[in-house]
């Protein structure tokens, strides 16, 4: 595959992530903050998001596993996860967190456990997608090409 083909593949893949709702405009904002002086910015922020999310998902498992569930704590964890997913543009994770918080208010353990599964699922999906995207980027750069600029006007 030549660089041009790889770049087209990258564009198609990125577009699909937006169309399917995995990513929103905030992800484009992240890309726009990346430049020659900060060439790894998006990967760095997204890696932090991965670490942060994995920690929060563990904490949520633990909190919901307790005899007497502390819903304030559960809500605090979900609030954090909602915040970080929103900050990187992981739209479906963010939306799953919003739904989750409603059930925290209701103090419904069963519903919260279902929500946690939902959030985990969305997180795994977006993690896979982003890792694929970053691999494509590495291939383009290794072949001497540059990453195209995404516009949201497609």
């Amino acid at each position: 595959m030549d660089v041009g083909q790889m770049q087209r593949q990258w564009l198609d893949y990125t577009r699909s992530l937006f169309i399917e709702g995995f990513l929103d405009n905030q992800f484009l904002q992240l890309q726009q903050l990346q430049d020659e002086n900060n060439p790894e910015f998006v990967v760095e922020v997204v890696s932090l998001f991965f670490d942060d999310s994995e920690r929060l998902l563990k904490d949520l498992n633990f909190a919901l596993d307790q005899q007497g569930v502390d819903f304030k704590k559960v809500d605090a964890h979900v609030h954090q996860l909602k915040g970080s997913s929103s900050s990187i543009g992981a739209q479906r994770v963010k939306n799953a967190c919003i739904a989750f918080r409603n059930f925290c208010e209701d103090q419904n353990v069963e519903a919260c456990l279902r929500c946690l599964q939902q959030v985990k699922q969305e997180y795994c999906l977006v993690k896979n997608k982003l890792e694929t995207l970053f691999r494509l980027e590495q291939q383009i750069v290794a072949a001497g090409g540059s990453i195209p600029m995404m516009e949201l006007g497609f």
């Binding site: 905030q26 903050l33 922020v45 932090l48 942060d52 609030h79 929103s86 900050s87 543009g89």
Partner: protein, 179 residues
């Protein structure tokens, strides 16, 4: 009277989220601000030279000013453990040496009463997260105003005075609410 174009504005950014600190720092740096980030309101107060007086909470020592620290604007998250951005705002506005520093609040939650309270208590702007470049572009006017005020030695800002804005288009990310 022109001001030195080369003099950079120094922004202190306060947020307990590492991701959000990275983001706001990058956003501010692309606007050529010099940036310092801290992860709590207490660290912000310490950076600003405030010391803890066991009786009164945090106080700026009037005699010893932290002369090396020159912060032109403070941008802070609202929801933080221990001390919120709103508490930080109030401590700053209560301090004689710090009250003229413009403060901007960020929050992921769109709660009108919260926004109103912050603006009434002296915040210049309230940004909804995730903060955008267009929000950061709004900061320079506040900074230029502060700087020209320092240089011309005009009357000090009355912190409780509500700023009147000509009808600006509604922007989901930042707005002033008239009571």
């Amino acid at each position: 009277m022109g001001m030195s174009a080369a003099a950079q504005f120094h922004v202190l950014a306060v947020d307990d989220s590492l991701i959000d600190r990275m983001l706001i720092e990058r956003l501010l740096k692309t606007s050529s601000f010099h940036v310092t980030t801290v992860d709590s309101a207490i660290k912000a107060l310490q950076y600003l030279g405030m010391v803890e007086d066991k009786l009164k909470g945090y106080e700026t020592p009037e005699i010893h000013q932290n002369a090396e620290v020159n912060v032109n604007l403070i941008i802070t998250d609202y929801c933080m453990p221990e001390m919120t951005g709103h508490d930080l705002l109030r401590k700053i506005k209560e301090s004689n040496s710090l009250k003229d520093i413009p403060v901007v609040i960020m929050s992921s939650e769109n709660v009108p009463s919260r926004i109103n309270r912050c603006l009434e208590d002296g915040a210049e702007e309230f940004f909804l997260k995730p903060v955008q470049q267009s929000d950061v572009n709004k900061l320079k006017p506040h900074l230029l105003k502060s700087r020209s005020k320092e240089e011309e030695e005009t009357q000090p800002i009355n912190n409780n005075k509500r700023k009147q804005e000509s009808s600006a288009p509604f922007n989901k990310n930042s707005y002033k609410i008239k009571i």
